[in-house]
């Protein structure tokens, strides 16, 4: 389907399918967990992001094909959820909570420190060395431990501007 509809054909580069080998096996296992193939969409997108770091147009086409959906439909779902990246991001992806409970405890200062120390300069931008991308997110469900940040899959709590350099050192 992807070839015919034009998805995945915009670039002349080779596209290596995600769902081959072990990721394919993981997908097959998912099929047994839900009564419809469509229900495997969120888990399948997680697999793509784990394998490739982000979800490209071509990957959207591939997911649509393996689940029997249209690329437009899959894209509509991908863009609904904030955790799926539709663009490449830095090697380490940092999410900072700035919602009210964290905000009153100084979350905006943590954001400033992160933008400065990583060299990202602004939210959503990747640092020139490709190491970091920083974004603001809404409540991370850890409001008693303000300010929490999520670096890749690591939850770090009680972050203050002073602690930022030490935390970043752990992520090269």
């Amino acid at each position: 389907m992807s070839g015919k509809t034009g998805h995945g054909t915009t670039s002349t580069e080779e596209y290596a399918p995600v769902f081959a080998g072990p990721p394919r096996a993981r997908l097959e296992e998912l099929f047994a967990l839900y009564p419809t193939k469509q229900a495997c969409l969120l888990p399948a997108l997680w697999i793509v992001q784990e394998e490739r770091g982000w979800i490209s147009e071509r990957a959207i086409g591939e997911v649509a094909e393996v689940l029997g959906l249209t690329p437009a439909y899959v894209k509509g779902v991908v863009t609904f959820y904030t955790m799926y990246h539709t663009h490449p991001v830095g090697r380490h992806f940092i999410q900072v909570c700035t919602t009210t409970p964290c905000n009153i405890c100084g979350a905006e200062d943590v954001v400033k420190a992160l933008l400065q120390e990583t060299g990202c300069g602004e939210l959503g931008a990747t640092s020139p060395d490709g190491r970091f991308t920083v974004i603001e997110v809404e409540c991370l469900g850890a409001c008693g431990f303000a300010t929490p940040i999520l670096v890749d899959n690591d939850f770090v709590e009680n972050v203050t501007p002073e602690k930022v350099p030490g935390i970043l050192q752990r992520y090269q």
Binding site: C40, Y81, T99, T100, P101, E138, C139, A142, G144
Partner: protein, 435 residues
């Protein structure tokens, strides 16, 4: 216990008794603490008997709405002609709330046991636990615990040799507050955008995959094994005078207190005791100003209202707000109420699923009017405009996200009007550049 702080004598740890104890995370550790006795007992009971016990306990949903759990279960069809489903709501994204994650991190088997009992009681052979995508550690802990429970015969085709089947599947969210709303959650599991559905049909009639479904919060389900073990009478007795609110409740306290964290109290405990005894009162040199008692979606209380309130469903209503998810956001005299209500409006604008015009436009407009006021360009007419918008956003949409945005706005204007006036009159330095 007041994780991460030691237990306070005024707490009553039931759900939180083993928070912080790594042994309790394991199957064997959990069994040592009496775990899985309730599930063994449940599979020997009839579905109706379990539902009756839960009804008699007075347990009400801990996800925000406070609906009686036993009654909700009794809406499920008696005969499971079609597949039934239980969905456990572990999306915990309500600002101020961080209790479900501790249940999953420290006592995963309590939740699995509660889910298994709930599933059996409603005639479901399958339970999906929807965990928000950001909860990476709770996910790992839960995932290991489910594997252990399967290996030890607590889950699967033949639960503890009873011939009853209960399967448990973890489903990972991907960043969307609205997926905590029950019908949005069902769509999300089905591989759709997380748009809430128009009710009716109610989930018990046509829910997940169109089948009869019950959705319960993590804390609700984790309470069920204790009820079966110790009886409805014991649970009902956990209340300080108001029989409509029973049991213990985890309170997440955040913001400007000395010891933020989770505290487990008997329903009816005075809010004063939570704020001053358990949380240690305000930070040095500061005084409390306001409390949002039920996660960010409920009316803001002045500190006077909060201090006069008893902590249970009716007690908080009597002082003008709602218990909600019991995530208490405490604000002291350093807080700029206008700025923080703006930040809440921005939250709702960001999280609106955009299906309903009142919500999509209303949350965005509200945010922009706050930005105007905060940049020193506010007008007297803005009060009226905000209140009219809020009125238009209340009780008129598919789900209550829209109402949730209006609640802090209306109560904020009512109770902290002078702070708005100061910006409008130019008596206060603008908090943001003109937009």
């Amino acid at each position: 216990m007041g994780y991460p702080h030691p237990s306070h004598p005024k707490e009553t740890p039931v759900l939180s008794k083993h928070f912080g104890d790594p042994e309790a995370r394991t199957f064997d550790g959990w069994v040592k603490h009496g775990g899985y006795e309730a599930l063994r007992k449940a599979v020997g009971m009839t579905r109706e008997a379990i539902i009756e016990e839960v009804k008699a306990s007075g347990l009400r949903g801990r996800g925000g709405a406070g609906f009686p759990t036993g009654l909700k279960w009794s809406f499920m069809p008696k005969e499971a002609v079609k597949p039934h489903y239980l969905v456990c709501n572990a999306d915990e994204s309500e600002p101020g709330t961080f209790k479900d994650r501790e249940i999953m991190r420290w006592t995963p088997h309590a939740l699995i046991e509660g889910c298994a009992i709930g599933a059996y009681a409603i005639g479901a052979e399958r339970c999906y636990i929807y965990i928000r995508g950001e909860f990476t550690e709770p996910w790992r802990v839960m995932s290991n615990a489910v594997d252990e429970a399967v290996a030890r015969g607590a889950l699967g085709a033949n639960v503890f040799g009873s011939g009853k089947r209960v399967e448990m599947i973890l489903h990972r969210g991907a960043g969307a507050y609205i997926c905590g709303e029950e019908t949005a959650m069902m769509n999300s599991i089905e591989g759709k955008r997380g748009n809430p559905r128009i009710k009716p049909p109610f989930p018990a009639v046509a829910g997940l995959f169109g089948m009869p479904t019950t959705i319960n919060n993590v804390e609700t389900l984790a309470a069920v094994p204790h009820i079966l073990n110790r009886g409805a009478e014991w649970y009902k007795g956990l209340c300080l005078g108001n029989p409509k609110s029973t049991g213990t409740k985890l309170v997440s306290v955040c913001g400007h207190v000395q010891r933020p964290g989770n505290y487990e109290v008997v329903m009816g405990t005075p809010v004063r005791e939570i704020l001053y005894d358990m949380c240690g009162g305000p930070l040095p040199g500061r005084t409390f100003k306001a409390v949002i008692p039920g996660g960010s979606s409920v009316p803001i209380m002045t500190i006077e209202e909060a201090e006069a309130a008893l902590f249970d469903y009716e007690g908080i209503v009597a002082q003008g707000s709602m218990l909600g998810s019991a995530g208490m956001i405490v604000m002291d005299d350093t807080t700029d109420m206008v700025y923080q209500i703006w930040r809440l409006a921005k939250f709702y604008a960001h999280e609106s699923c955009a299906q309903c015009t009142q919500c999509r436009e209303g949350t965005a407009w509200t945010t922009r009017i706050f930005e105007r006021i905060l940049s020193g360009k506010g007008k007297q007419e803005d009060f009226q405009l905000l209140l009219e918008l809020s009125e238009n956003m209340t009780g008129k949409t598919i789900c209550v996200l829209s109402d949730s945005c209006a609640a802090p706005v209306v109560s904020g204007i009512q109770k902290f009007r002078s702070e708005f006036e100061a910006y409008i009159a130019g008596a206060r330095e603008p908090a943001m550049a003109a937009v």
